[in-house]
């Protein structure tokens, strides 16, 4: 699996990273620490895409069983590692997630999902009756069971990016769109921007949805819009919220667990996330649309109705902001990480949909390992770009 950059050793070697989201910035950090001369390019500003509008779940609770769940477990451990080594400061907040079932059908989904989590080595606790109301004071009486998913947490995507920016070691070119690459003998040798051509020894594409414009074979990456709601602060006497509450329906909406009758074009899964500020982040929709600027009252009201059903005390709060973001989704629900055909020194990391904050730092580390030609710490063969036959468009 390691694909060494086959250039002769130079000192220092240079790498161009396209995209200053959490994946690109993490890779930039690790490559810079590995002695590479890194330049990050972004058409806008750091964290201006999905990273800046994500909910910040560093969570295994909702992951689809299989490689994604396994990688999420490793990714959460990696957040813990980055916290222990001081790299992330206090940006990662460990806490449990609570997945709540409100009827028998949801309970079935919950139990099935819980067994997958346990099989992946995640420690969980099934809460019913008094244990449920004791653990989650805010849960509605209609909640019949909850699973506490332990050993995970929360990090705000743009704050992680800001932390990595401040640690520094590499320049960020803001408002600098990469329009293409220069080639020589099957390798990328230059990054083309409106400022000119800059030589490079390797390239990592980490531009989320923007990655598609560099690739031939349209289709594997598509926008999936999410709308999110921010509330004002809850009073000190509000019922307890020990961690995010996730409706069991969220698992269905996300496709983590199958259920009949869910439409593809728009689904509303619910997570109520208590923020450190005392505010709540409530979301989000999954809509196959690409209008990231608009938010609509119908989606917001539906999410809020569901939220109040799950935690009635939320009705006392006020909505202060509503925003939307676009996730980069793939047709099989798995990210795309690895080499791209068409140039031997080109790598890609995109298609994380709603899992970018959780997986981002680990994927940045694995990209660094691949680019440095080091052994890659986790099996990411299922994320390989070859499964979509992707290659660099301009190299065709």
């Amino acid at each position: 699996m390691p694909h060494p950059a086959s250039s002769p050793p130079q000192s220092p070697r240079s790498v161009a990273i396209v995209g200053a989201g959490i994946v690109g910035m993490s890779a930039a950090h690790f490559l810079s620490r590995a002695g590479w001369q890194v330049t990050v390019y972004d058409a806008g500003a750091p964290a201006s895409g999905a990273t800046g509008s994500a909910d910040g779940a560093v969570s295994i609770a909702s992951k689809k069983p299989g490689p994604l769940m396994t990688l999420a477990v490793a990714a959460v451990r990696f957040y813990e590692h980055l916290t222990e080594t001081g790299i992330l400061g206090d940006e990662y907040l460990p806490r449990s997630t609570f997945v709540v079932a409100s009827d028998q059908e949801e309970l079935g989904v919950l139990e099935r999902h819980a067994s997958h989590l346990e099989a992946s080595g995640v420690s969980i606790r099934l809460l019913k009756g008094a244990a449920l109301t004791g653990a989650i004071g805010a849960a509605a009486p209609s909640a019949i069971a909850a699973v506490e998913v332990q050993g995970e947490g929360h990090a705000v995507g743009y704050r992680v990016v800001e932390r990595l920016r401040r640690l520094g070691g590499f320049p960020i070119r803001r408002n600098c769109r990469v329009s293409g690459f220069n080639f020589s003998k099957g390798r990328i040798v230059g990054v083309v921007t409106e400022d000119g051509v800059e030589p490079t020894d390797a390239v990592l594409l980490a531009t989320g949805l923007g990655s598609a414009s560099f690739l031939s074979g349209l289709g594997p990456i598509r926008p999936r819009k999410g709308q999110l709601i921010v509330t004002d602060r809850a009073g000190a006497d509000a019922p307890s919220f020990p961690g995010p509450l996730m409706s069991c329906r969220y698992l269905v909406s996300k496709g983590s667990q199958a259920a009949p009758g869910v439409t593809e074009s728009r689904s509303l899964g619910l997570v109520i996330d208590p923020l450190r500020t005392g505010q709540f982040l409530i979301g989000g929709s999954r809509e196959d649309r690409d209008d990231r600027e608009t938010t609509d009252a119908d989606v917001v009201a539906t999410l809020l109705r569901d939220a109040v059903e799950l935690a009635p005390s939320l009705a006392q709060l006020r909505v202060i902001r509503v925003f939307a973001g676009l996730r980069a989704a793939t047709s099989d629900g798995l990210p795309i990480v690895g080499r791209v055909g068409g140039a031997e020194n080109l790598w890609i990391a995109t298609g994380f949909e709603g899992d970018g904050i959780c997986l981002g730092p680990l994927m940045g580390r694995l990209c660094q390992q691949m680019i440095c030609g080091e052994p890659v710490a986790h099996d990411i063969s299922s994320l390989d770009a070859a499964r979509f036959g992707l290659s660099l468009a301009t190299a065709a």
Binding site: G44, A45, P46, A47, S48, G52, Y158, R159, E162, R165, R166, G168, P171, I172, R174, N175, T231, D232, R249, S253, G261, V262, T263, S267, L268, D291, E293, T294, T295, D296, A297, D298, V300, A301, T302, L304, R305, D306, A307, V308, L314, A315, Q316, L317, R318, V319, I320, R321, V322, F323
Partner: protein, 437 residues
């Protein structure tokens, strides 16, 4: 019935627009967030017997307009707060009496949201007991009473005079009125106001009342800092010679001019035809607002394909008021304190308690961080007011630190609905457009 036209804001501009639209035969609904029409300028008292004195011409203008409005077909909805235009183009109103969210799809929307009051940051401006001059004046108009205790009025602008004189008329003149601008009325200003003599009359009445109360404005004098002391406020004042002195008071009212309230006024392409009117379009005061309401009505009628007549008198009023306001504003200094000497602990964003030190820290590196990064990581503009009160200042501060690429206020201020915080309990009353999954 013809399509509905929705007018937001029950001040002079909104009331005038609604009246003229109704007279043209349209179905008009006028929404006001407060309990009564009037806006900030013509705020009506909670108890009609408890009313503060305002210039007679001003109250007569409002009486004439509100009487005509009552006789018209305009449907008036008080306690209805404009929450914005959502992505689907629907106008959202929070009915504060019933606690429900109301949706409307009008053929046209007139926004007459008035002005926002500027206060430039200074140490201690976020303390309890510190208010805005306009806010205090509206409170006095509502209650008919001046606040108890020692009040200091400071900043710049004609509103300082009006508030101080109204307090004096109630026997509770401020302990001092500090006007930052060193200028006094000049002959050239009087000359420019010759076509708007009402302002000169109003100012002379105010000055007379303040002279009698011994509270004439101290020009060239400003507040450096406010700090709490024994349940009161200790205010450091810089006089016209640059010397500091201290005054201990119960309340401080600050004001640094007015800006159009354009929060949430951007219209999505699939939304209604939107016209702004009054101070929300251009801050020209109450006389101009009534004329501008007529202009807004004309724009709506033209959009709806109704025949309209020219409004030469409204146009004349607007140009006269624009000249008068320019002359008045030239007398004042709305710049506020020089940020260079403001201490790091000065609060910039009062919603989230973010400080100047935190802003300086974000700007400290050689890396040219963008306005968006400053917003996200500094949390300026991320609070309940969406930057309505700090974005202009933050943008100006960044511009002063940077050569060449000052950020636009629009990069910091939020333009999203809800325009103001809306209770979740109101949202859940919206009928689902489709069954919940």
């Amino acid at each position: 019935m013809s399509a509905e036209v929705l007018v937001i804001g029950g001040g002079p501009a909104g009331a005038s627009a609604a009246l003229h639209l109704a007279r043209a035969g349209l179905h008009v609904t006028l929404c006001e967030q407060g309990p009564r029409l009037g806006g900030a300028l013509h705020r009506q008292p909670d108890d009609p017997a408890q009313r503060i004195r305002v210039p007679r011409a001003q109250s007569q203008r409002w009486r004439a307009l509100s009487t005509a409005l009552e006789a018209s077909s305009v449907q008036i909805l008080c306690r209805h707060m404009f929450a914005g235009i959502e992505g689907g183009g629907t106008v959202l109103l929070e009915d504060r009496a019933s606690g429900r969210l109301v949706t409307r799809r009008p053929a046209a929307l007139v926004l007459a949201l008035g002005a926002v009051e500027r206060v430039t940051p200074l140490p201690g401006w976020q303390l309890p007991g510190v208010t805005t001059v306009g806010g205090l004046q509206v409170m006095m108009k509502s209650t008919g009473q001046a606040p108890d205790g020692d009040v200091l009025v400071a900043g710049s602008g004609p509103l300082l005079l009006a508030l101080a004189a109204q307090m004096a008329a109630l026997g509770k003149a401020p302990v001092a009125v500090l006007e930052r601008s060193p200028k006094l009325v000049s002959p050239s200003v009087i000359a420019s106001l010759i076509t708007a003599p009402a302002y000169l009359r109003e100012a002379s009445h105010y000055l007379l009342a303040l002279a009698r109360a011994g509270a004439l404005p101290q020009h060239g004098t400003w507040v450096r800092a406010i700090s709490p002391r024994d349940g009161r406020l200790a205010v450091t004042i810089v006089d016209r010679h640059g010397r500091d002195r201290e005054l201990v008071v119960d309340r401080v009212a600050l004001h640094d001019g007015l800006l159009p309230n354009q929060n949430g006024t951007a219209a999505p392409s699939n939304g209604p035809f939107v016209v702004r009117a009054g101070d929300c379009r251009e801050v020209l005061g109450g006389v101009a607002a009534m004329a501008d309401g007529r202009h807004a009505a004309k724009a709506v009628l033209a959009h709806l394909g109704r025949s309209t007549e020219a409004e030469p008198s409204a146009t004349r009023v607007l140009s006269r008021e624009r000249r008068a306001q320019a002359a008045i504003n030239a007398l004042y200094d709305y710049s506020g304190a020089d940020p260079a000497w403001l201490p790091d602990e000065t609060v910039i964003c009062r919603c989230e308690g973010r400080t100047l030190g935190q802003l300086r820290d974000l700007l400290a590196s050689s890396d040219p961080v963008s306005a968006r990064e400053i917003k996200l990581n500094g949390r300026f503009g991320m609070g309940a007011c969406q930057g309505r009160f700090c974005a202009e200042w933050v943008a100006a501060f960044i511009a002063a630190q940077r050569d060449g690429e000052p950020p636009a206020v629009s990069e910091i201020i939020g333009s999203r609905w809800p325009v103001k915080p809306v209770p979740i309990s109101a949202f859940v009353t919206l009928p689902p457009s489709r069954p919940s999954e």
